[in-house]
Structure formats: C-alpha cells, structure tokens
Amino acid sequence: MKKLNFVLSLLVAIAISGVASARDQIKIVGSSTVYPYATVVAEKFGKSGFKTPVIESTGTGGGMKLFCAGVGTQHPDITNASRAIKSKEKALCAKNGVKDIVEIVVGNDGISFAHSVKAKDMNFTREQLWRALAHDVEIDGKMVKNPYKKWSDIDKSLPNKGIKILVPPPTSGTRDAWNSLVMKKGCTKAAKAAYKAQGIKPKKGCRKLREDGLAVEAGENDTLIVNKLAGDPDMFGLFGYSYLVANKDKIKATKIEGKKPSLASIQDYSYPIARPLFFYVKKAHIGTVPGIKEYLKEFTSKGTMGPKGYLTDIGLVPLDSKSYKKTRTAGTKLKTIKLN
C-alpha cells in the first residue's frame, strides 16, 4: 500500500508540475499537405537555438477545431491549413476567445490528379472529372444516378478503361479544395438548376461522391495512395504537388484542361486546380510561448519560401512577388484578420 500511495502522489506531483510549468515549445497542428513544409522549417528553426516545434498532422478541419478551442498553453499556437479558414471556424474561434489571428499564405500548391508512369498520358476536363466522381449526373437534362463505369462512357475520346479513383477523406483540406475547384466548377449548369429545383444547395449536391465503389476514400496516408497507383495503371489518385515531386519515378500527373501541374502553371494559376496554402497563428500566444515571432520570421523569409528558398526543393510553389510582400508584412508586423 505504501508503494501505491507513493506512486499516486508522484503522479499527482508530475501532473501539477506539468500543468503549472509554461510551455517553451511551439505546438503546431493541421493539414497533412502543409505538414511536409512546416516540418522542414521547424527542424531548421530548431537548430537556431529554440526548441524544435512539435507538429501534429491532424488534417485542416481537425486542426481548426483544436486551434479554435481557446487561448492558453494547452491549446496549439499555430494551425496549418490547405484552404482558407471558413466563416464557421472563425465564429468558433471568436466564441472561444481566440480573437487575434494572423494569416500567413505559405505558397501555392496544385492538386495533382495522378496515375502510374506505366499508363498512357491523359487529359481531362473538370466536367469529365465531376461526371466520373459525382453521385448523380445529368444526362439529356435528367438527373440520374451516376451510370458511368468506364471513362469511355463519359466521353468517346477517353480510353475504354474502368473508372477507379482514390479520394482523400472529408476532413482533408485537399478534399475541400477539390470540391470547390473541380466538383463545383465541373458541375453542369443543368445539374445545378436541377438541385435548386429540388431545394438542395447546388454546392452540396454537386460535391456528393458516388457510392458504388468506383470512388474510394483512401485516408490521409498519401504514400499509401502513391504505392497503390504505382501498382495499378488504371487507378487515379489526388494529392498535393510535393508528393508528385518526391515520387516522380513512380507516378505522373494527368493534364487538366490541357495543363500539367508545374511550378510555372501553378504559380500563375493557369493550372485549373491550383490553390494557396496557409497557416494561422494565435497572436495571444506570442510572448507567452517563446519563439513564435522568430518562427514566423524564418518561415516567411526569402531563403525559405522565396523563389529559390529551400521549400521549393520539396515541391512548394512560391508566391509571386506581390503576394510574397503581403505575406511577409503579415508575418513580421503580425497583422490580424477580421473574424466576422
């Protein structure tokens, strides 16, 4: 019994000291797409004298939830996001007292619709992709449950191969971006009108995925998706540009409306499914947790995210000079965004 008492009191002591002591290490949560970039910066930052920040890959949505839970050292300081913060999330932040948020645009990313290098090069329009993935499509003005089993069913010019697509889960920011850039934009006018007539928001109706097993939710593990694609030349998957760069001996991107994802086409947004990447900083924690300011400085420096910075080596597409200036001022002057 003495031993038990000792153990319990020791634990309570550890617990109390753990709570009481201030955190001296930055905590970062959020998107798995920004994770590769953030970890590289964090590691470099850790060699400069500060403790290396701890980064959790929770997905954009999960990160926002943790980030907006409140102010205090038990909550993360920074959340990475592969899309801009939603108004719902802003409201949650405001409700929990997270009032001052600094938004940093990290750079650009092109969602790559990729397949095995063994397969033939392909070119898709966004409407074709929507038709391949949507739950309901419109044919001759009528909404029907997605009947397409092969690409050639959608368009005669496409190959006579079965449709097999791996998509990220709904909590992923990549999925959100894909929804707004492909599922919404590729959705035909007639389908949108039909949804409106049914009293369903077109945005919601268009992005609903087919449930007959041809579009498979594959989880946040992008490396697993790469290996699956490499093994099956008829399968397609979608993920951030950095995974394409790191695995170019195994997979290649298809063209979207005639454009391949590349540094140039993503930077000037001529690649149709390019999107910016972000991270958000809790201003209230600056000064409480040491190093946040310096981390921001390191991340937004030219040597990091500039055109020749080390993040471009692992697939980040740098901002153009105008957006870069804006993000650099936000990072050094700590400009906050409006929450409503």
């Binding site: 031993k3 038990l4 153990v7 020791l10 634990l11 550890i14 617990a15 000291s17 753990g18 709570v19 002591s21 955190r23 290490q25 905590k27 798995s32 994770y35 590769p36 970890t39 590289v40 964090a42 590691e43 850790g46 060699k47 403790k51 290396t52 701890v54 980064i55 959790e56 890959s57 038990q74 290098v117 946040e220 593990n221 992008d222 490396t223 697993l224 790469v226 950095s242 995974y243 790191a246 695995n247 170019k248 001996d249 290649k252 080596d313 692992i314």
Partner: protein
C-alpha cells in the same frame, strides 16, 4: 465392411487429421516468414549509411581565427564555419554553373556543416590542417548507392539528374564513396531528412510510456485481482464487475484514446503529446488484461496452501501476503509483461492524445512531447521521401526485437519461479 477395412478407414482419418494440423502450422509459418522477409530485406540497409570522403581545409583564416594564436575550444565553437563547409562541399567535383553547384552540394546530407564542426571540436589539434573526413551522404545518393533507385529511367523522372549521376560515378571510381554504421538511426531524433532521421526519440518515448504504464497498471491490477479473488463475497455485484472486466479487455484500444483525450487532456489539463499521458492511457488499456492474468494465477494456487496457513493461525491478510501472492507471482509477472508488450505495440489510442506528431528533440522527462515506436513507423510510412521506406522497416525490426525480448522475459520469469505442486 470387414474389420480390416474399418481399421484402414480409421487410420486414414487420423492421417488426414494430422495432415490438416501440419498444414495449418505450415501456412501460419509461411505468412510469418513472408512478413519477416519483407521487413528484413527492405529494412536491413537502414542500419548502414552511405558516406562520402570529403577533403576539408580547417584553414584558420577561413574560420576567422587567423589572429588568434592558440584558440580555445570555445573560440572554435563560435568560429565562422560557413566558408570551410562551403569549400568542402563544393570541392567534391568541379562545376560550371549555380545549378551544378547546388547539385554537388546536395549530395551531402543536410547535416554536413554540423558534422564538419563537430569533427574539429573533437580533434582541435587539426586546426590549420587539411584532412579527409567521412561525411554522411544525402538520402538520394544513399538510396542510389544501395540500389533502391533505378538509374535507367529518363532524367526528369529521377531524383538525381545526369550531372549528379556523373559526379557519383566519378566519386565511386576514386573510391570516395563508402559505408559506415548508421549512427543517426540509433542516436538521433526524427528529422525530415531521411539520412539523419533516427528512432532515439521514439525509443525513449516508448520507454517512458511503458514505465508509467507499469507503475500505474501493475499495483492497481494486483490489488483488484487479490481483492476479487480472495476477499470479495461471491454475489451478483462482483459477478457484474467480473463481466465488465472481461468486457473491457476486449474493447478496441481507440476507445481508451478517447477516454484519455476526454479525461486526461480536457478535465485534468495534462500536457498534450507527452509520454506521461500516453503511459496513463496505455495503463487504462492494459489494466483489464493484467487483472485477468493475475486472477488466473491466484486461482491456480492450491486451496491447501491457504488452508494450511489459516490452520497455523495466520490471518487472512497474512495468508494472502505471505503465501498466495508470492506463489502466484510467476503467472502475475508474465501476464503483466505480456500486457506491457501489447501496450508497447499500440498506436491507435496515442493518435487521439497527440503523440502522432513530428518531434525532433529527444525527450528527457515524461512531460516532454514525444512519439513512440509504433507511431514512428506510422509517421515514416506516410512520408514522401523514399529514404523513409527502409527506415520504416528498420523500426519495425526494432519493435519486433523488443517484443521478442519482452515475451521471452515472460516465459523465462514463469519457468524460473514456477512451483510444481
């Protein structure tokens, strides 16, 4: 049917039965071997690293120590190493333009500047001399040298361009490419550069978690088992408790992660991503398993021992503490070790309490953020860089090694202390 025919039929039936049994064992051994072969064949190369013999000129002028007669270690530590490291890295091969310069420089690992600096700090007498040092190569070169990257594919699909391949071939010809013990893998924390990423942080994190798990789960489980087995009255209430314990042992581990998130992090406010919280969560998970093992071994102690002790006047507590529990120890210990081995291999509950994270610094106390071995396997299997493939398998080998050690310890403990009645 004659007697002979019936006999023959019975023999045949026995033969078939034996054959099926051997078949079942053969199939399971086959799958285990397949798994081990896959893991060992991809992972064994991670224990060695590729190195490049690099000429380094510890020139005093370049180090900005020109006017110091006898520099102290502290002065060397604070010296400007940029020129020295730059010259060493770019001196590997002559280049023509910026791009080629970068190509040469990136053949070395991201840590080469620190390696050069540490070499001089360990050998301060080399100041002012030109020496050849073995530096760690980048993961791209490492993977090429180990034969994991194909060379015969078009340049734009390769990680190393034609110029870099040319440099590599030249270095091989000069005998400058070598291999060395993969020190980073064992003594370094996580990193985004596969060539300098290691499992030290994960091993320490796992160790802390397991110790905390043992400290909490073992005394509580033992007390619970002793009370239920020796003191508790047999009624509906204790029956319900027993059913619940058996049930809890079968609850998916992720549920305990949710409990840890809801209770430890939200209510008690313990720090996220730490092995302290991980250990407590794992102890909740292994508690029912250990209670069941403890009760089984207490039950196995013959009643005659208890009766004997009571007969010579020992109290109930004395009987239990002096006789029953010590005799049940072998089973209790092996049950505990097996429970801990289960906890060591667990990653799902740790996901929810934030231990699935990028942690570079090796933890020194249980309240430092850390990962654990299975989590490290998961994280590396997710990374885009190819060098992590072999690291993932190597970490699996390490984890399997630890599990084998713990399970053999359990068998040994049982055999060593077992009493035959």
């Amino acid at each position: 049917m004659t007697r002979e025919q019936r006999l023959k039929k019975r023999y045949a039936a026995e033969k078939r039965f034996r054959f099926l049994g051997i078949g079942a064992i053969a199939i399971s051994i086959f799958f285990v071997c397949l798994l081990l072969f896959k893991v060992f064949s991809t992972g064994s190369t991670a224990f060695i690293k590729t190195t490049i013999m690099t000429e380094v000129d510890f020139n005093k002028e370049l180090l900005e120590l020109g006017d110091v007669k006898k520099p102290t270690l502290k002065q060397i530590k604070e010296a400007e190493f940029y020129d020295v490291t730059y010259k060493a890295a770019t001196g590997l091969f002559p280049y023509k333009n910026d791009e080629e310069e970068k190509g040469v420089k990136t053949l070395l690992s991201g840590n080469y500047e620190i390696e050069i600096k540490n070499y001089l700090l360990n050998n301060p007498e080399l100041l002012g001399q030109k020496v050849t040092i073995e530096l760690t190569a980048s993961d791209d070169l490492d993977q090429l040298h180990k034969g994991n990257f194909p060379r015969d594919i078009p340049e734009d699909r390769r990680r190393l361009n034609n110029f870099q391949l040319n440099v590599y071939d030249n270095l091989v010809e000069q005998g400058k490419i070598g291999t060395a013990f993969g020190n980073y893998f064992f003594f370094h924390g996580d990193s985004r550069d596969p060539e300098i990423a290691g499992v030290a942080g994960a091993v320490i994190g796992s160790f802390f978690s397991i110790i905390i798990c043992l400290m909490i789960a073992f005394p509580i489980a033992l007390m619970a088992a002793v009370y239920l087995e020796e003191f508790a009255p047999k009624n509906t209430f204790t029956d319900i408790i027993e059913i619940n314990i058996n049930n809890l042992a079968a609850v998916p581990s992720i549920v305990f992660g949710l409990l840890g998130l809801g209770m430890l992090l939200s209510v008690f406010g313990l720090p996220r991503s730490t092995s302290l919280v991980g250990g407590i969560t794992l102890s909740l998970m292994t508690l029912p398993t250990i209670i069941i093992a403890c009760r089984a071994s207490l039950k196995a102690v013959p009643p005659s021992i208890r009766e004997g002790a009571l007969a010579i006047g020992a109290s109930k507590v004395q009987t239990v503490c002096h006789h029953v529990v010590p005799l049940a120890m072998p089973g209790t210990l092996s049950g505990t070790i097996i429970g801990l081995a289960q906890a060591l291999g667990e990653s799902a509950p740790l996901l929810l309490i934030g231990m699935v994270a990028f942690v570079v610094d090796v933890p020194s106390v249980p309240t430092d953020p850390s990962t654990s071995l299975p989590v490290q396997i998961y994280l590396w299997s997710e990374s885009a860089e190819r060098g992590f493939v072999e690291k993932t398998s190597a970490t699996i080998m390490l984890l399997i090694g630890f599990l084998v050690i713990m399970n053999s310890l359990a068998v040994w403990a049982r055999q060593k202390f077992e009493r035959k009645w």
